[in-house]
Structure formats: C-alpha cells, structure tokens
C-alpha cells in the first residue's frame, strides 16, 4: 500500500509526459491522481487509527526488498508509524490543493503538472522511508521538481531564488550524507528503526559531530535562523501551488528529520545540546516575528511568518531534556502538531495570497484595501487562516502552540516566556495585514474583481474544514502523534540525566 501511495503520483506524471497533450485533460488527470492519492492516504490514516493502533513502537504497513543494493546493505524499506502517518496525509491533502490551485497555469502546462506530481512522490517518499539511503534519495529527488517549478513558473528573481534554494539544500544534505555514512560504518546498517537510540555506541566520528551533521541538514530545511535566508526568496518567487507545497510539507521534512533522526538516533546528544536548540528556536521565533511586521509584500509576509512558526517546532523539540528526570511527551507532540497545523494554515494562506494576486494583480499591501467587499468568500477564508495562524482557540493553531508552550515552559521557563511574547507580535502583524488588505474603504479600482470560482473554492474549503476539525477535536491527529513519539520518549527517558 505504501509503495502505491509513494509512486502513484510518479506514475501519473509519466502518463502526463507520455500520453496526454491537451491542457484540460492534463489538469483533470492531475486532479484525479491527487484525489485518489488523498483517498489512499486517508485510508492508510484510518486503518492506522483503528487496527494496529496500540502496538507502540512498531512500524506498520512495512514493505521490504532486502536485496536492492546488497553490496552496501541498502534496502528498499518502507513503513509508517504514528509520527509519519499524519504527515503522509498532510502531503496528500496539500498535493491535491496544489493541483487545484494551479488551474490557471497556462505556461507549459504539461511539464508543470508533471513536476508537481513528481514533487509529491519525493516528499511522500521522505516520510515513509525506513532506510536512510532511500530517505536521502527521496530527500534529494525533491530538489529537481522544486528547481524547475520555481525557475520556470515563478516570478521576480525566480532563477536566483531557485538556485539559492537548491544550493542551500544541497549543502545541508552534503553534511547529512557524511553523517549517514558515519552511522553506517559504525553500526553496519542504514535501517532507521535499528539506528534508534544508539548514541551510547562507538562511532568512527564523535557522536556529537554526527548529531550536528544531521541536525544541520534538517535545520536548513526547517529553516532555523541563521540558515533561513533561502526561504523568503524561494517563497516570494515561487508560483502559488509551489509555495503551498513548500510551506505546507517541504519544511516539515526538516522537522520530521529532526525528530526521527537527530533526536531518535541520538537522544543523549539531543538532551546535551537542547539548550542550543532552545536558543536557536527562540531567536527564530522572535526574529521571524519582528521581521514579518515590516513586510509590505503579502507573500513575503506569510513567508517570514513561517520562519517564526517553524521556530515553535524547534522549541517543542528542545523540551526533550526533560525536567527532574522525567521527559514529557507534550513538547514533542506539540512540535509534531505544529508541523501538521502549520501545513494546513500556511498552505491555506499561500493559496489565498495567490488568489488575491491573480485577481488584484498586486501583492503590495499599501496598494490594497477593502477587498472583503468584492471577494467575501476569500476574505472569510483568509480570516479563518489568519486567526488560526495567530493561535485563536477553536482553531488548530491554538492547540499546537499551547502544547509546545506547555511542554517547554517547565524546561525552559525564561526562554519560553520570551517566545510566548512572539504570539503578541503575530497577532499584531496578522490582524494588521488583514485589516489593510480586506477591510477599510472599498477601492474603485478593485470594483470589477470577482470572488473565488468553484475550482478555487475546493482546496479552500478542504483546508478550512481541516483547520476547524483539528481545532475542535485535536485528538484526531495528536493521539496518533503521541503514540508514534512514544518510543522516542522512552529512549529519552532512558538516557535522561537526573
């Protein structure tokens, strides 16, 4: 089943490449593929929640082909647990939204949808790979579609941004490869499950170095200050659907890697350096928030807010050090929840920003105003996304931020107090942005603008519903995360220093 989920979009892309010609056909086909993909991912999620739900620590739906590359003991090994299943679902969800958000693309339609589907395969593969080399292959595979999507269909300094994104990620993954090889020659395996909690072992490099190599690669992706600079450029110049994917799922690859690889493999080192993570997190949170306030480009604003919000993920992870000899799962669950909710919320925000830009032909906030009168549906969705983003109770954003703060406050009281302050700033820039763009006097030059069409409303509705459902009943996702994080919490508990 997992192989089908991973390779369905790729197969769809090949069919677009080889068989389809007409733009309309291609759009419909891509939509069909992603809808089926979403159905499969949802089915996997439901099966996971019901059947094998209680077997903590086990990987489910495992698929292994041991003899893929026997010389290096590299296996084709897929499987999911509570940590990855919601992320697979998120990928499928946003993958579908991305296709619907691309309905207006006119330039080189065939290649565009092909790359979009290839991207989905790569990201899904990252979340379900249980072999470190396979993980790395999917991790790098994601670069090519992103490079093409940004540099061909983007705007502004698109080629510069695409290259910057690529070089940053490549440098990060270069370090990861060294870490992976060091682990392999110390432990003799690329199997991620077997590698969990091995940091007491003898390594050919110091364990702290390997931890830093892995963490660095994932920090570039998350992104963490000071290696975040690729993100605003890439987001600003990417086409709407790609921004949705980038903010929605690609950043989560970084957070996922940090939790499963950096913390899961080296729980002791993670605790030792938790203060570094906490420091980086709070700088990301505050710096991201402060810089966001100054932005006048709607898309750049949302992009910078992502840096701040992904800082919460890192903050949640920094709670692994525990307090008084007890490691709580709240902080890590909060980090994982923050990944899921940020994916839906910011995905929706980028979607709406793209729609507004398509209609109003500007992203410059001072030029806008009173748009709510002309596009009420978009305005309502924007309001929902904005409020969720600032963490209003009843939306999913509130749940995840609350969990992060609950988890980290006992561990890093002062730092958390500082980070909580960013909530105020967030509320400020979000409300100010909405007020300046959607409210105020209705402007004459926007009088002819229409609201969202049905095709445009589909992804909006799906994401708004997800935000509300998770906001009201967070356990639907958080239970799964908690269960998936249980083995990591246990190993953290074992190595904790009282």
């Amino acid at each position: 089943m997992l192989s089908a989920i991973v390779f369905l979009p790729l197969a769809g892309a090949m069919i677009i490449l080889l068989l389809l010609k007409d733009a309309r056909q291609i759009r419909l086909w891509a939509a069909a593929v992603t809808v089926v993909e979403l159905a499969l991912a949802l089915a996997a999620f439901v099966i996971f929640r019901t059947e094998d739900y209680r077997r903590v620590g086990d990987m489910e739906m495992v698929e292994v082909y041991r003899d893929w590359i026997p010389a290096l003991n590299i296996q084709y090994h897929l499987g999911v647990d509570g940590l990855s299943t919601p992320l697979v679902l998120l990928t499928a969800l946003l993958g579908m939204c991305a296709v619907f958000a691309s309905w207006q693309v006119q330039l080189r339609v065939k290649e565009y949808f092909m790359w979009l589907l290839v991207l989905q395969t790569a990201v899904t593969g990252v979340f379900v790979s249980l072999d470190f080399v396979l993980f790395f292959i999917f991790w790098e595979l994601e670069l090519l579609p992103m490079y093409f999507l940004i540099s061909i269909w983007g705007s502004g300094r698109k080629e510069y941004s695409a290259m910057k994104f690529l070089i940053f990620t490549l440098l990060g993954s270069a370090f990861m490869l060294v870490g992976i090889l060091a682990l392999y020659f110390s432990e003799g395996t690329f199997n991620i499950v077997d590698l969990q909690n091995v940091d007491g072992a003898q390594f050919i490099l110091p364990a702290g170095t390997i931890f830093a190599l892995l963490f660095g690669a994932f920090a570039v992706k998350l992104p963490v200050w000071p290696v975040h600079t690729w993100l605003p450029d890439a987001h600003t110049d990417a086409p709407t659907a790609v921004s949705v994917m980038l903010a929605g799922v690609l950043l989560k690859m970084g957070g996922y890697g940090m939790i499963r690889m950096a913390v899961g493999i080296f729980p002791g080192k993670a605790q030792e350096y938790a203060w570094v993570l906490a420091f980086l997190a709070v700088v990301s949170v505050l710096y991201g928030a402060v810089v966001t306030v100054r932005q006048t480009d709607l898309k750049r604003l949302v992009a910078f807010s992502s840096i701040s919000h992904m800082g919460y993920v890192l903050l949640g992870i920094s709670s692994v050090v525990g307090v008084g000899g007890a490691v709580s799962s709240v902080g890590l669950t909060g980090a994982a929840m923050q990944m899921f909710t940020h994916g839906t919320i910011t995905g929706l925000l980028f979607l709406l920003v793209g729609l507004v830009y398509d209609k109003a032909h500007t992203r410059h906030i001072p030029d806008m105003g009173g748009l709510a009168a002309h596009m009420p549906i978009i305005a309502v969705a924007f309001l929902v996304a904005g409020l969720a983003s600032l963490g209003l109770p009843g939306t999913s954003g509130f749940v995840s931020e609350l969990l992060v703060f609950l988890g980290t406050f006992q561990v890093w009281s002062w730092i958390t107090a500082l980070a909580v302050f960013a909530i105020v700033i967030t509320a400020g820039y979000i409300l100010w942005m909405i007020q300046r763009t959607f409210f105020g006097p209705s402007l004459q030059r926007f009088a002819s603008l229409g609201d969202a069409t049905v095709v445009e409303a589909v992804p909006m509705a799906v994401l708004v519903i997800t935000i509300m459902v998770v906001g009201v009943y967070p356990a639907v996702v958080s239970d799964v995360f908690t269960q998936g994080l249980e083995p990591i919490i246990q190993s953290l508990q074992q190595v904790v220093r009282p």
Binding site: V133, I137, E140, L141, I152, L166, I167, V178, F185
Partner: protein
C-alpha cells in the same frame, strides 16, 4: 612467445588488426559509411576472445593467467577494463558517424587510430611490468594526439600539438620515476618490486627511502597527466575544446579509465607496503583536483571547456577511491576503494558519453559550442535535452542517476578508510558543482530558442544516445549487478 601467449594477447591483437583492416578498406571502398559499421561489428572478435578468456579464468586456481615473460596478465580486473573500453569505443564510433562524414579525407584513419589507441588502453590494464606499461601508454597517447588534430584548423592543430608535447613530457617524468624505482629494487616487474620493498624499507623516512619517494612522486605525476588531475591538468581545457567532439568524449572517458586501471595496478601491486604514505598523497591530490576543477568550471562559457574542468573535478573524485585503499580499514575487512573506483568509472563513463553525444548532436546543428547557443533546445529537441539534462544531474550526483550511486559508493569507501575529511570536501564540492551543471539545464529549458528549427539525429548516434541515457537511469536505480561485477574484478588485487 608461445601460442598461449598469443591467445592471452588476442583481444589486443585482434583490435589492432581490426584497425589495419579498416584503413585498408578505406582505400578500396567508396562508401565510407561502411567503415564505422565494420569498426563496430568487428569489435565482436576481441569481445569474443575476452569472453573466452573470462571463461578460462574460472579454471585457474589463483584467478589469473600470466604470459609473455610475466609481463602480461589476464585476470578479471584487466577483463573488466577490456569490456569497458570496448563498450566506450563502440559507442564513440557510433556517435562519430555523422561527424566524421563531414571530414572528406582520412575517414579510415580516424577509425583506425581510435582502434589502435583502444588496444593500447586495454594493454595498459593488463600489464604488470613497468616497461610494458610505458609502451602501452605510448600506444594509447600517440594515436590520440593525431586524432585531436584531426580537424586541421588552428584550434584542433593546437590541441594535437599540445597533447603530443605535454604527453611526451609526462612520459619522460614517468620514465624517470620508473628508472628510480628500478634502481632501488632491481626489477621492473610489479610483484618483484613489492617483494623487494618488503625487505628494504627504512621506517624513519617517508616512503621508506628517498630514492623511492622521488620515484613514486614522479610516477604519480606521469599518471596524473593521463587522468587529468591537478596539478597536471593544464593541457585539458585547450585539448578538449580544440579536438573533434567525439574524440573529446573518447579522451575524457576511455583514456581516464585506462590511466586509472594502471594506477590501481601499480600502486596496489607494487607499492602496497607503503600504502599509508601514498594514500595521503592521493587524498590531497583528490581534494585539490576537485576543488580547482569545480571552481574554474563555474566561469566557463564554452560547454566543452566546462566539461573539461568538470573532468578534472571527476578525476579528483576518482582519486578518492585510490586514496581509500589506505590500509587503515577495520581489521578483517577489505577496502571498497578499488571497486568503488571501478563502479564510479562506469557511471562516469556512461554519463559523460551521454553528455558529449548530446552535445555533438546539438552543436552540429547550432554550429557552436557556447552554452548560450543551447537556448531553447528543450523545445527544439526534447529528447536530446532530456538526456543532456539527465547527464548533468548525474555528473552533479543527484538521485536517481548513476552519478549519485557512484558517489555514494565511493564516499562510503573513503569513510570506511577513515578519510572523513575527504568525504566532507567531496560532498561540499558536489554541492558547489550544482551551479555550473544546472546552468546548462537552465539555458536549455528557460531561455527561448533563436529559431524554431527542429534538431534531428541520425540513426547510429541516436542509438548511442539512448544506450548511454538509459544506462544512467539503470545504474542509478539498480546498481547492484554492476557493483558486484566491480567487486569481482578487484578481488585479484587483494590476493
């Protein structure tokens, strides 16, 4: 020389004879198109001999057959290179068909010289004696010098002369190094050198002896020229740019493979005793080579020059495999450096050939080797563009390509040999190289073409293009069998 010796030498002999046959046919035939066909089909003879030899090997207890006064050895290592070089040769001949048909004169000589050179390369991988290594090197290099000058315009002539002069100079250095080694050990046979070294090394001096030190460094310099490593790379850009493009492809791949075979053979068989010292030497050369190659490649505007510098960088990556032979592997295990090098060579060969074949086809239409002239090829010739893009991605080392698997395997060998710093340098270099490799892709797909003319490719070059393009993907997805072949080929080095 017995009949058995002739049999052992049969692949090289039949290949050289084929060259003579092609030249004679050129004199009697009108239709020159037949020459390429004869060259490719005629390769079946040395191929058949090689397969027969491979079959005979299984009967030998020590996995090798030695002939001609212990100078020639047939083992899986040399046969691996025979197959590789014949494969490269066949592909390059196929891709040359259209290119050569525009040269009015000497078409037979073109193919003939290529075949002579290939027989030298095959011999180079199969000799265990310093003198015959030298002869094989010259047999490889002289035809290549003539081929580089084949277009007979000013650039091509310059390329030929440059290659000839610098090749002669590096041969002189190599010979001097060999003389020193001979003077120190009293033999030119590699196994003999190994035995003498075992008894006469002084532990307080690097390499055990000053004379030996000088000799080894000079041999490294000589071979460094052949595989285009820094600091012996000066000839590469000019020769690559001026030579006919199929010859550039041949030079960048086959010549390098043969040089690498000789390095592995010499250093593994003769200088195993002092491996720790020369591992450091090669590690430093590797790091410098890839860094210089990559940094200079960034500023190139001519695609052949860019690939020339990329070749220098890849020579660096290859030497990582040589350096990884260092004895510091965990006890009870053998290094994967040599097999990593062999796999990398195959991956690099198919990738570089695919790139050059696509360039031959494209620039024969646009009439220019400038990267900017590739604008819009993505629409004019979708398939060519895809293959060229794919080969760039493979050179860069992003999955799912042969280049990625080659690097993964090679770096893991270096990691195993405790060369973590070299792995870090290598992966950072790979990341930097993204800038210039992707530039080609960017120009092809993101800039508009000058004219909407479609590019078409003749049958034989197209087949060569497909074979190499598919091999990139196949080796990237299923490298298992080729890794296994490489491992079996290098087993003999560890006996």
């Amino acid at each position: 020389m017995t009949i058995h010796d002739v049999y052992l030498l049969s692949p090289e002999l039949s290949l050289a004879s084929l060259g003579i046959v092609v030249i004679i046919l050129d004199m009697v035939l009108r239709r020159k198109g037949v020459l390429a066909a004869v060259s490719v089909v005629g390769l079946l003879v040395p191929l058949a001999f090689s397969i027969a030899l491979w079959g005979n090997l299984s009967g030998e207890a020590d996995g090798q057959m030695v002939g001609i006064f212990n100078t020639l050895v047939v083992d899986k290592f040399s046969l691996f290179f025979k197959f590789l070089i014949m494969g490269i040769l066949a592909l390059v001949v196929m891709s040359s068909v259209e290119y050569v048909s525009r040269i009015r004169q000497f078409q037979g000589e073109y193919y003939g010289l290529m075949l002579f050179s290939a027989s030298g390369m095959m011999l180079l991988a199969a000799t265990t004696d310093l003198v015959s290594i030298y002869i094989a090197l010259e047999l490889t290099a002289l035809p290549l010098a003539a081929l580089a000058a084949f277009l007979r315009d000013s650039r091509s002539t310059e390329a030929g002369i440059k290659f000839l002069l610098l090749s002669a100079m590096s041969s002189a250095v190599l010979l001097y190094g060999m003389t020193l080694v001979y003077g120190f050990t009293g033999t030119t046979q590699l196994p003999g050198i190994f035995e003498r070294l075992g008894t006469s090394l002084d532990a307080t001096v690097p390499f055990g002896s000053h004379a030996l030190f000088l000799g080894v460094v000079m041999i490294v310099a000589g071979f460094g020229f052949k595989i285009a490593a820094v600091p012996f790379q000066m000839w590469v850009p000019d020769v690559y740019e001026g030579a006919p493009t199929p010859i550039t492809a041949y030079l960048s791949v086959a010549s390098k493979a043969a040089g690498f075979a000789a390095i592995l053979r010499v250093f593994h068989m003769a200088f195993g005793e002092i491996s720790l010292d020369w591992a450091t030497l090669f590690a430093v050369l590797a790091a410098v080579s890839m860094t210089v190659g990559n940094l200079v490649a960034i500023s190139q505007n001519n695609i052949k020059r860019m690939l020339a510098y990329s070749t220098i960088a890849h020579a660096g990556f290859l030497m990582v495999g040589v350096a990884a032979i260092a004895a510091r592997v965990p006890a009870g295990e053998t290094t994967t450096g040599p097999s990593g090098g062999l796999f990398y060579l195959v991956a690099y060969a198919v990738t570089n050939l695919a790139a050059f074949f696509a360039i031959i086809a494209i620039s024969s239409r646009t009439g220019s080797d400038m990267i900017s002239s590739f604008a819009g090829i993505g629409r004019q010739a979708p398939l060519l563009a895809v293959i060229l893009a794919f080969s760039m991605i493979s050179l860069l080392g992003i999955p799912p390509t042969a280049g990625f698997m080659g690097k993964l395997y090679m770096f893991s060998a270096a990691m195993k040999s405790d060369l973590a710093w070299l792995v870090v340098v290598s992966v950072l270099n790979s990341a930097v190289s993204a800038y210039y490799y992707l530039r080609v892709i960017r120009v092809m797909y993101m800039q508009d073409p000058d004219n909407a003319e479609k590019v078409s490719v003749a049958f034989a070059p197209r087949v060569a293009l497909y074979i190499t393009g598919l091999s990139i993907l196949a080796l990237g997805l299923f490298p298992g069998p080729m890794i296994k072949a490489a491992e079996r080929a290098v087993e003999i080095l560890f006996l």
